[in-house]
């Protein structure tokens, strides 16, 4: 049987909602595909576009940024800033036609363990369809 491609996805999870959501999903023993490497950040707005770009250019197949739902930010408005910055980053990547599909922003709250599992699984499926990041084999980057 041909082995299925397991993408390498880097997930930046906000400490207060999404990371706790991931924790909940784990303790509820929900089935989550083993594709996501988690990096915990204090707030989704802490993620500089450079972090995402280095991750992408070093060959991650997908990047997930997850934070509290709009209006629920632990720091009141961090995720609104994060959303704006994500829109900006995506626009830049879109304009230069560099796979904007590999970036995703999701809102997962601390009580949404099930949703966390869904988000990860769906995103993994999406990246599977896209295939491995072509950057991985390009020696000129």
């Amino acid at each position: 049987m041909k082995e299925q491609f397991t993408p390498k996805i880097v997930g930046f999870l906000c400490n207060w909602c999404s990371y706790a959501g991931a924790d909940l999903a784990g303790s509820a023993k929900l089935e989550i595909l083993p594709s996501l490497t988690v990096i915990r950040v204090m707030c989704s707005s802490r993620i500089d576009s450079n972090l995402v770009l280095t991750t992408l250019l070093l060959g991650a197949d997908g990047i997930l940024i997850a934070g509290c739902h709009p209006g629920d930010c632990h720091y009141e408005k961090g995720n609104y800033y994060a959303r704006r910055r994500f829109a900006l980053l995506r626009k830049v990547v879109e304009t230069l036609k560099i796979d904007p599909e590999r970036l995703q922003l999701s809102w997962v709250s601390a009580s949404e363990g099930k949703r966390y599992a869904e988000v990860v699984n769906q995103f993994t499926d999406k990246i599977r369809k896209l295939g491995p990041n072509p950057i991985q084999t390009n020696p000129y980057l």
Binding site: S49, G71, R84, V92, P139
Partner: protein, 366 residues
């Protein structure tokens, strides 16, 4: 209708006379303008307080030796200037200064801004620019695009100034050598020119010449973008365009918007360790040196493309002739549209990454 002062003398002379008048009558204490530096015709920005020095001034000489916005920010960074100064600069330079002020890197206080409708500037590398100058002024008179100016200038749509106290009309002025029309946009300008000889009129800066030049520039912009296939660059295209990059980062050093002294890209954060090299080599079997062909530019695009004023300094100084400015112009266009923002238009308007609206981008966040 705007208030216009018509002076019966060539543009350059009129402005120098006006500056002399302002300096002599102590309405201003200094002038910031382009000036011939030595006998060998080099030109550069100067601060002038001595009236006789103004004889060497060439306020509208088509060279941008550095973005004036960046220079002005340098000496107003800590605190505003105490005594009034008249600054003669181009529309994009003024917009760059306003962008820097928004980032708390300067102050507009006590400046009298004199700008003009702009016909573009020569690349800095132009040898003996004096040779091309009569041709340049002919194209300005006819509202045409000079063949000798920066490619970025050829494609610039924002050639009339925002936030200028005084706008000198250049584009389409058939009688440039005989008369000069200066538009007094603010009360400050109206007050300060009192006592200077000239005819007061009521006119509009917008003219058929200006809109015809705008159309020509738009066509030129499309041509510039098509030349580097910006619409379908993709990863391969980006690598091709930036493949020659030697990583000197001079494009960001001259960029008026890139003000950070400790630039993230200059820090050790993204340096490759031996382990990183090994890891990458293991993956790819080969690695370009220095690494990160496109990371620096894409990163910079996400940091400040929405504020790019399109002055073209970056392309101008690039030692390997990468069309950096064109890529910033195109990406900037897109990101500005995203936030409905025009850099340098309004000093009160916050830069897009410092604000948000609760109801926007709701489609994001799957």
């Amino acid at each position: 209708m705007d208030k216009v002062l018509k002076i019966n003398e060539s543009v350059e002379k009129s402005i120098i006379n006006l500056l002399k008048f302002l300096l002599e009558s102590k309405k201003i204490n200094g002038v910031f303008t382009l000036r011939k530096l030595y006998d060998n015709d080099s030109v550069g920005y100067s601060l002038i307080t001595d009236v006789s020095e103004l004889d060497n001034a060439v306020p509208f000489y088509p060279l941008m030796t550095a973005n004036a916005g960046k220079i002005l920010s340098h000496f107003t960074q800590k605190k505003p200037i105490k005594k009034p100064i008249a600054a003669v600069l181009r529309p994009c330079e003024l917009r760059a200064f306003v962008e820097l002020v928004k980032r708390e890197q300067g102050s507009l206080e006590n400046f009298l801004f004199i700008s003009s409708s702009c016909g573009g500037v020569f690349p800095i590398k132009t040898v003996e620019p004096d040779k091309y100058i009569s041709n340049y002024w002919d194209t300005v008179k006819n509202a045409d695009i000079s063949a000798d100016i920066r490619p970025t200038c050829k494609a610039c749509e924002y050639f009339t100034p925002y936030n200028a106290d005084i706008t000198v009309s250049l584009i389409g002025e058939k009688k440039l050598d005989k008369e000069c029309r200066i538009f007094l946009n603010t009360d400050k300008a109206n007050k300060i020119v009192k006592g200077f000889t000239g005819e007061m009129l009521e006119e509009k800066l917008e003219s058929s010449e200006i809109s015809s030049l705008l159309d020509k520039r738009k066509t030129e912009k499309k041509k510039l973008f098509d030349e580097i296939h910006i619409e379908d660059l993709g990863l391969e295209g980006m690598v091709e365009v930036f493949g020659k990059c030697i990583g000197c980062h001079v494009c960001s050093r001259v960029c008026p918007i890139c003000y950070c002294i400790l630039c993230d890209f200059e820090s050790a954060t993204y340096d490759y360790s031996q382990y990183d090299y090994e890891k990458e080599l293991h993956k790819k079997g080969g690695l370009r040196l220095p690494p990160d062909t496109i990371f620096f530019q894409i990163g910079r695009l996400t940091h400040m493309s929405f504020s790019c004023v399109g002055c073209g300094m970056c392309t101008d100084v690039c030692p390997v002739d990468i069309p950096v400015a064109a890529i910033f112009q195109k990406t900037g266009e897109e990101t500005r549209q995203l936030f409905d923002y025009l850099p340098g238009k309004d000093v009160e308007e916050k830069i897009p990454v410092m604000i948000f609206k609760e109801e926007e981008f709701t489609e994001l966040g799957e």
